[in-house]
């Protein structure tokens, strides 16, 4: 699946997008975040406060307990500040 990062999450992770293949057992967005956090300093910094991180699966807002099976694109970003 493809991961995309925006705003300060993108800056901290250090990339705009990447393809990943999470291990079996990673079932939800929250578990994916916990797994990503262990991938390096940038990830740990980006996801240091998971409560503020927003996520979307295939362009729909989701909560941390959303299941990721079947997802094509998962995005992580800070609370939105448009308008």
């Amino acid at each position: 699946m493809k991961l995309r990062y925006f705003a300060w999450v993108r800056e901290r992770v250090g990339k705009t997008e990447e393809e990943i293949d999470p291990p079996a057992g990673i079932a939800t967005v929250g578990e994916l975040v916990a797994w990503l956090t262990k991938r390096g300093e940038g990830y740990a910094y980006a996801f240091e406060n998971p409560k503020v991180i927003r996520a979307a699966i295939d362009h729909n807002h989701v909560r941390a307990d959303a299941r990721i099976d079947g997802a094509h694109e998962i995005a992580f970003f800070p609370p939105m500040t448009g308008g």
């Binding site: 925006f6 729909n60 807002h61 800070p78 939105m80 500040t81 448009g82 308008g83």
Partner: protein, 166 residues
């Protein structure tokens, strides 16, 4: 209903967009326009400009979902939403919401609803260039405001409670 949703780098002309929505129509009795502008300050500190980052596919889909939601709540005859991205200088336009209906109540309410949701649900992020005189001091991501969340939250009360509160 006529719906226009555009995400664009360039500025827009409010009068032209309004005219486009109402041209040739004799059923529209009310048009409300909201225009968001870039200020020269953020939390009291002077800024040179802001830069809007966005998630293109999702932004378009999310705005379309909220326009659809507005259409089910109010008898709308037309909606235009334009949101800019990229670098925007103080005084320039950022966002436009135009709502048209037979009567003003629906147009006012739908414009307010759409703006509240754009602020909190549409995937855009503002970064400001803080300056001291002409010198760039820092680039800072704007924090989301609790007041914006509260403004959006008021629309999620069930209609029965909304009616009872009047």
């Amino acid at each position: 209903m006529t719906t226009t949703i555009r995400l664009q780098r360039e500025a827009f002309d409010v009068a032209a967009e309004t005219a486009l929505l109402t041209r040739g129509r004799t059923d529209i009795g009310a048009v409300v326009t909201f225009t968001g502008l870039c200020r020269a300050d953020e939390n009291g500190d002077p800024i040179a400009a802001l830069t809007l980052e966005h998630y293109p596919d999702m932004a378009e889909a999310e705005i379309a979902r909220h326009v659809e939601e507005a259409r089910t709540r109010w008898p709308l005859l037309g909606v235009t939403v334009i949101h800019r991205y990229g670098r925007i200088a103080p005084g320039e336009v950022i966002v436009l919401v135009v709502t048209a209906s037979s009567h003003r109540e629906a147009a006012f309410a739908a414009a307010s609803f759409l703006m509240d949701y754009l602020k909190t649900r549409a995937p855009f992020w503002k970064q400001v260039e803080k300056v001291s005189g002409n010198t760039l001091v820092d680039k800072i991501w704007v924090d989301a405001k609790a007041a914006d969340d509260a403004a959006a939250e008021r629309w999620s009360e069930p209609p029965s409670r909304r009616e009872a509160a009047k």
